[in-house]
Structures are given as C-alpha cells and as structure tokens.
Symmetry: C2
Subunit: 164 residues, 2 copies
Amino acid sequence: MERRFVIACLVENHFGVLARISGLFSARGFNIDSLTVGATEDPSISRMTIVVLGDERIMEQVKKQLNKLIDVIKVLDLSSNNYVDRELALIKINITKESRMSALQLFEVFQAKVVDITLKSVTAEVSGSTQKIAAFIEMLKPFGIIETARTGKIALTRESVNGD
Amino acid sequence: MERRFVIACLVENHFGVLARISGLFSARGFNIDSLTVGATEDPSISRMTIVVLGDERIMEQVKKQLNKLIDVIKVLDLSSNNYVDRELALIKINITKESRMSALQLFEVFQAKVVDITLKSVTAEVSGSTQKIAAFIEMLKPFGIIETARTGKIALTRESVNGD
C-alpha cells in the first residue's frame, strides 16, 4: 500500500553519505518530496529528514538497507508514530505602492516576517505546516511570485498525547 | 582559496536527480554543510539549496557540470551576491516544574514557539540565521537537549542594498 513516509536518519557527517542514501531511495523508485540535512548539537553528526511517497513493503526493505550503511547511526520512521513537523519558506513577490499594504496585511494573518523590502518587491519568511505554507503561497500568487525557497519538513516525535 | 558557498539549483522533480547532484559534490571531496530540497510554486520543479565549504576553482568546475546535468534547469551561486538566508530548527529539551519558566522565558527572547509540551519535556520551533539558532541551542544545553532537527539554510537573492 502506498503512503507518505517521514524518515529521520542520524548519520556521521562524512562526504558521500548523502549521495549513498538518496541513491538508495531513487534506485527503488521512491520519489523524494523533500529532504533536509543539517547539523545536530553534535557537529560530527547530521540529521536527515526525508519525506517520500512509496510502498509500505518496499520501505521496510529500504529501512533495513539504511541501517546496514556505514555512517548511518539510527533510522526513525516518524510517520509510524505521533510527530511534530514544521517547514520554512522564503517567498519573494512583486509589490507596487498600491498593493503593498494588502501584502503586509496578509503577512500578518500568516504570521510571516518581512526579511527584505524595496519599492518593487518584498520577501517574506513563514514557518508552519506544509498546508499552511501552501495556503500562504496560494494567497500571494495574485501579487506575482518572483521566487520561492522551501526547506522541506523537519520532524521530531511528539511527546504529548494531543496537539496541533 | 577555500570558502563557504550557498548554491541554489532549480531541478525537474524526477527521481535520481538528488543522488546525481549530491554525488557530484561528494566525488570532488566537498563536504555538504547542509542541503534542502523542497517544492516550488510549480510542482514539477524543486529547488535545492546546498551549503558547502570548498575551493573556488573546483566549484567553478562543479557549477559547469551541474549545468550540464539533465533535469538541472538553473544554477545560482547566491554567495557571490547579496542574499537573504534563513533556517528552521525544532529542539526538544528536558524540563521540570522548577525549570519550566526559565525555559519559556528563553523562548521569548529568541522568539521561539512552543510546538509540544508535557510535564517533562518541551519542543521549541525557532527560525533565523544559522548563528541565531546556534546561540539558542547553546543556551538550551543546560536543560538537557533530547533531540534537535535543523532544516539547513534556504536563501534568495537580496533586492535591497542593506538589511539584516
């Protein structure tokens, strides 16, 4: 059965590990929705978060193979438990003297921050769920989107029983 | 001369492209500080942001090779211009009845949001520069860090002359 997986991998920060891991997913035909790799509190260890759509049975094989890779310390399937996830985006849009105020009001609604502004363009920073960011981008389309950059999801296991 | 590069690649959202690109960097001995790949406003196109430390001359070759790859639409060296960059982190720490208030006060200082809380732990979401996030994590260490996940940098070219 196909579903969306959120996989976190703790890896030794050596070169080549990212290529090996992403190669493992693409060799099995998994398309990667998003992938992030960043430092942890221990500079020798990086944490990867991978969001993929794929088959449950094939994912079991991929997880086993990930665990066998040198440099892979730990593999967590967050999507099989409760987890908290967030994503960040930078979005640059066109503005005019007339449209500026309505753009800034929209930023307030979405709790977006202005990170760069000129007479002709403004860049917003927004964080939240993938759905919230998609909704924000949708609302900004009428202004004319110049450029966007999204981090993709990061996620940690949720400790509380309920939550947003 | 070695320096830190911030490279953005617009790529067709096909499987294998991530493995090919990260393979290209690791084959040249570049260690990847952070890498993110996420959707753009066009679902068939993804944007990768790669932060690497490496040699200026070798990077010129890598950029040429990236441009030759099928599925690579555009390669931007943001670090050769003015750019805005941001990063997102989720950080889970231990709390007790006694330490909870001082943790929450620290969150306020860093404009971090609580995304999950129990009697024993709290997870914060924080965004900003790599330096700000590093400073926040440093301040949280005395509480006991359970887990962290960082997205790595995303970046867009800056339009204004000055800025943070």
